[in-house]
Structure formats: structure tokens, C-alpha cells
Symmetry: C2
Amino acid sequence: MNLENERLIIIGGTAAGAKAAAKARSLFPELKISLFTKDKYISYSGCGMPYYIKNDIEDYNSLIIRTPEDFEKKGINVFLSHEALDINPSTETVFIKNLLANKIVEYPYTRLIIATGATPVIPDIEGVELKNIHTLRTIHDAINIKHELKTAQNAVIIGGGYIGMELAEAFLDNKINTTIIESSKQLMNNFDEEISEQLLQYTKQFKKLKILLNSSVKQFLSENNSHVSAVELTDGRLINADLVVIAVGIRPDVELAKSAKLELGSTGAIKVNEYMQTSEKNIFAAGDCVEKVNMITQKNVYIPLGTSANKEGKTAAMNLFEHRMQFKGIIGAAITRFFKFNMAICGLSEKEALKNSINNYKKITITDKDISSYMPHSHKITLKLIASKSTNRILGAQLIGEGNITPRAYALSVAISNGMTVSDYAKTDFAYAPPFSRSIDITLTAAQILQEDV
Amino acid sequence: MNLENERLIIIGGTAAGAKAAAKARSLFPELKISLFTKDKYISYSGCGMPYYIKNDIEDYNSLIIRTPEDFEKKGINVFLSHEALDINPSTETVFIKNLLANKIVEYPYTRLIIATGATPVIPDIEGVELKNIHTLRTIHDAINIKHELKTAQNAVIIGGGYIGMELAEAFLDNKINTTIIESSKQLMNNFDEEISEQLLQYTKQFKKLKILLNSSVKQFLSENNSHVSAVELTDGRLINADLVVIAVGIRPDVELAKSAKLELGSTGAIKVNEYMQTSEKNIFAAGDCVEKVNMITQKNVYIPLGTSANKEGKTAAMNLFEHRMQFKGIIGAAITRFFKFNMAICGLSEKEALKNSINNYKKITITDKDISSYMPHSHKITLKLIASKSTNRILGAQLIGEGNITPRAYALSVAISNGMTVSDYAKTDFAYAPPFSRSIDITLTAAQILQEDV
């Protein structure tokens, strides 16, 4: 392939952008590649930031997978602190502002990958601009939060989802009084309520942790007109706070895509095909700025996760000049822990199934040990499995507990991603040895019970 | 269902027999169930015995899942030290010898489950009858070996397979000089040679361990005409030994089945259909005495493992009076560890594929971390993945290393058991978070590389 006249520009350098750059380089050694990001860091693991804040990881440099120097060595031009403002598809150029020099330059491309990611949702609450109130999105955020943690005494986390719970672990492990304020009636809102209830029970052993469900912030208060000192709830309760993190979700960064009049999906994120092409065939998009297909419902969803960002970045690079690889979509598989309590979801929760008008389903919740019960370190896990009553297809699984849930989440993800029925799944021959598993796995028992439930 | 005139007799009480009894009881509360075993123990985990010997588990009673009293309480008559000698299918009776009273009684049945298991292969070597030479099959064996371990100084293990390696861990952990004598050119002979080679390298850190490959025993020597004192190899080498375990395999116990003229398969084990029925429809068989179907090759194989024994026992019980559940076969999924080095196989090794005349395959071996590399406790794993070049179906996977191989073994077992292609597998959406996994799993990378290899 003659790539002499080709120029790849990548906008964004966290997961999707950096992965796309690395993959494009290894596939096309001759291709001219430039990566622009408004950030000061590139190619870092956002998902690892809570563990850096906790101090499982001391140095934030450990989170950085490839430095700008690594990229430069491979002939990728990296422009930090450069914000892309406007794409002109007809001239195939991007206007990019050097934020340090305050200068705008027009760069030509023949292929463009938009990996602008997402922005944390910041609720319009009085006092939200006070110091010591953060979101956790960039390494810069993580560095600031970790720094303030050294002197903080009372932390408040707004939002009891993945980032909220992971940060709570980090704060509690650093002996900080921590309050989680969650507007819904449960923690980990993408799980079913009775499943999240078990997490809530587990959290009760942490004396420095307060969880306020069904609670909303009215305003942030300050004693010195500069730093936050307290959070006032809509019901009048006051919570002391010298460190606040808002973790109530993110929304796709689509301003740049809009400038090119790229088609957006119903979720508001950028619409792409399975080759990661936008409505302009030479413009690709990947990561938290794009809409995904739920492989179970075949509906478009916005579930921005690190694993799909990486895969989409790779897929975009693969398909730059010919169709070589498809990204089929997601099932919303996610996993996290709060100290020793693990939680994974693959596919639809029961409430999500109902929201998708899937009413004809069957379900089972069972608890079992993760490995042979006589072995040291065997622990309980609970599985909630949901399948279609009409087709027997597995719709979703939720796994929680102190035991090793990952193998079961992995196995069920293969099944759900591939539309397998409970009967298909039930015939699986899993490897068994006492230090690793049980002679009949909990997921097989559950699948078999649902298979019999006709 | 009126079960008043039905009588279930189960012969054998370890994994398959005990599981069948428990399942039959829960399905048919009214059914008369009697379980006979020549053993003094029932319902124990054979797979846990190495960890009992090692002392991870102190009391052998922990290995016992259900005691005879547990069964009796549920109305199952348990006869220990009772050996079934002869089945007469035309009269539907079994002749059973009470080994303690030395008395033979004829028992009537309407349904019979044969779960006679297997017997360790004992090579015909001079001196093999000496004291302190064992096989590891029953709890009694495990108790004896653990007892002798207290005073032993030099242990010899004949056979470097699963039991051999697990016992070596137990012996070394108890500071015993240990020699493994293996007749083939590699440890863990069901893995490919270059994979087992990595285990061999790992073992080199254990100063008290000697591994002799391509080696065979000529005779066992005794200084006192009673206990073993040394092992002489065919090449003349002498190895001091005050404890020997022979772990060179097992063969199905089919004498009882032969007495009923039940059909045996080409492997010599009892032939059953997918409902676990033998050639006599009221006689079922399950566990290590039966032949299995390899779901990849659809050939009959004899791969006796604890997980299939349990599933087959359950399946037999389910189908006693009507066809309710099928056991579709196995893929030979197995897992073990030697200290911190884990090994799993699912499906065919490369050499097993070749043995099955599968020549048109593609393969890849890659090494990656198990979880995000910046996390504490991330470790390497190596995956060898084999797929058919003509159909793209995944044929087999081998996973080794100090990292967490179980999730990958589980995921690939679902795929292989269900005939999935590398392209099917590659679209799986796995849950990712730094403490659990990587953003793009090693198995996805491997599947995708094989998918591209056309």
C-alpha cells in the first residue's frame, strides 16, 4: 500500500486515541501520524486513577502506558495542549489551537480519528465552582485529589456508581471520613436493587463511611469564600466537607464532531458503523465520544467504558484504508470492587430488560462458594442470571460477593456476547481443581435451572 | 409419579455415586435408594487429597461432602464395605458381598447406577508390593501418605502428571527431598512440550526437587525386605526413597459392568448414551468408569475427571424415570498448579489435534499480564491458542503462568464446548477494571490474530 500521500490525524490521546495511534503505527510503518490533545498527558489509564489515589500505585507515571517520547520515537508527532476546534470535511482540514501559544493552525488530513472522549457531568449547583470540588477524569484531577487527600478530613462523593465506590475505597483506606450522596435509591444503579443491597450491607462495617441514598445536593457552602467547607442537601442536612468529588456520570464530547456536521446518534454520541466510520467515510471516531450497539437488544446505547474505548481505537486504526475488522458492539460488561466485595455485570439487569420491554424472562439468584469449600480462602459468590423465556437466550448476569467472580463473568460474557441460550451454556465443560473452581460451577447450576424452567 | 415399586441401587459412592444419590433424593423424595460401596468412606473430594496431604487442609473429614449419616437422615441406605460382585439384568438383581461379614446377598433393583470409578494403574515392577509404596486414589491412601510424610526424608513420585505435580508441591512444602520420575520427555504430558517446558523451568528454583524425564523404574529395593529404601531406574541410577507414590494413570473399573454384559466402548470404559444409560436401559453408569464423548472431535475418549463425574452422576439421577437432561460430553478441560505456577488446558493440544488427524490448523502463543500491569500483583500468563484453518473453530487452548488463568480458561471453555470460531470469540465484550483484568484481554488478542491468519 502506498501511503506517501496519506496523513492521519488523531484528536484525543487517552485510551481510544492512543490505542489507535499505536495500532496505526504498527500496521502502517510509513504513515504520517499526528496526535493532538488538549490534555497535558496522553495514553494513560483512566480506570487506574482510583488506585493511584488510594496509593496502591504510588507514581502517576505508572498509569501512563506510552509517553509522548515513546510515540515520537516511533515517528508519531504528538501535540499536547492543542485543542481541535473545527473540522472541515470538504477541504479535509482541522483547525487546531495551540493552547500555550494561543495560535490556531489549519492541518490537512486524509484520515481523521476523533477520540475526544467525554466530559464529566457537573450539576448546576450553587457553589460548585468552589475549590476542593473535583471531578475525576484526567490525571491532573487525580493528582489534585491525591494531593488534597493528605490534609483532608471529610470527603464527600456525589454519586454511588463505579467511580464513587472506587474513590470511597481510596478515601477510607486513607482514613478519611467519607460520605456518599446518591440521588437514587441504591448504590451501583446499573445493578438490580436487591443485588446492590448486598453491597450496602457490606459497607456497614466501615465506621468512617456514610451512605445517603435518595439524597441530593442543594448547595456547596464555604466558610472562606474560596474552599468548600460543607455540603447542604435539599432536605436541609449539612455535611462537613473539605474535599468533594462529583461522579454522577459523563457525557460525550461531540462539539468537534458537530463542527464537521457528523451524524450523531439518538443518545447524543457520535454515530459510527462497525468499522468505526462516522457519516464521513474518512473520519473515524472511537471511545467515549461514540455511541455503541448493545449486542443483546441491538439498540444504540451510550455506555462508555475503557475496554470498548481501547477496542474501538484499535478497530478504527485497522480499518483506515480497507475494511479489516468489525467492532460488533457491547453488552455493558463491567466489573469493580469495594475493598473485598466484588461486583460484575454482563448484559442486561432485570430492570434494564424491563426498560427494553423484555417482559417474558426467567431468572434465578443463587449463592455458592467460588472454589472447593474445604480449601483455604474459599468465598461466597452470588449469581443472578436472567434468560428469555421464549428463546432461552441468556440476557444478563450479575455476580457479587467476596469470592472470585471474574471467571464466571468472563464465561457468561462469551455466552451473552454470542447470543447463547442457557442450554448451550449448560453443556460447557469447565476446568476444575480445588484451588481454582468447584466441580459443578455456579453458572452451570443456574443455567440448568433456567433451562428446566419452561 | 408413583415410585412405590421403584428401587434405586447405586454402586459406588465417591463423586458420581454420591452426587447421583443426593440428586435422586432431592428429585424423588419417595424413592427407595440404597448406595453400596466397598470403600469405608463416601462422598469425598478425591481432587482435594493433595491439599490435605500438603496440610492446606488439616482434617480429612473436611474433604467429606456428605457423611453416611447425612445420607441416612435423608432416607438413603448406605452400605460401606460392601462390594458388588455381579449384576443380573434379567432378574434385575445385584449380588453384593458384605466385606466385613463375608456374606453375599442378592438385592433387587428397578434402576441401577454403576459408579464404580477407576483403579490406579500399578506397573508390574519388581518390589512394587513393598511397604511405603502407594497410589493416591482413596482417602485411606491419603491418610497413609500424610502419616508417612511425617517421618519421610526422600520421596519418589512415579509420573509427572496432575497428581504427580500436586503431590510434589505437597511433599516439597513439607521439606521432603522429592524426585519425580517421568517416562515421557515432558512433565504434564497432555500439554504441548514447549508449554510444559515452562513448568520445568519454574521447578528449577526448588532445590529439594529432582525431575528425571525419559526415565523408567526397573525395580524397587528394600534394605529390610519390608519397606522400600530405593528405586532403581532402567539405566542403573539409584534413588533413595522411603516413600513412593505411583501416579501413572487410572483405568476404568468395569468388572461389574462386564458381569451384566453391558457394552463397553472402544476405550474399554462403559459405553453410555447422553442420558447416562448403558446398553441396558434401566442401568445407568457415571463417573470414572464410563467413556466420554469429546465434543470437539466427537470421538469417544477416556478422560476421567472430577467435574464430569459429578455432572454425570447428576445427569443419571435426572434421567432415571424420564429423559430430562443430557450430558453432551467433555472437552478435556483441566487446571492445576505447582505452587504459584498455574496450568490449564481446554480442548485439544497441538499434538492431540495431530493425533486426531487435524493438520489444517493455525496457532498462536502470546504472553501478557493478567491484570493492568501497573497494579500490584499483576502477573504474566501465556496462552497457546489453536484453531481450525478451514472452519475457524477454536480447537484448544493452553494457559500457563503465575497470573490468573482461570477467567481465560473459563471463557475459552464456553467457546470450545459450543463450537465457536475465533471470529465469534473475538467479538466478546469482557468486563474490565484494573484489579481484575486488562482493557483488551489476551484471549481476544489471540483470537483476533488467528482470525486474520487466513
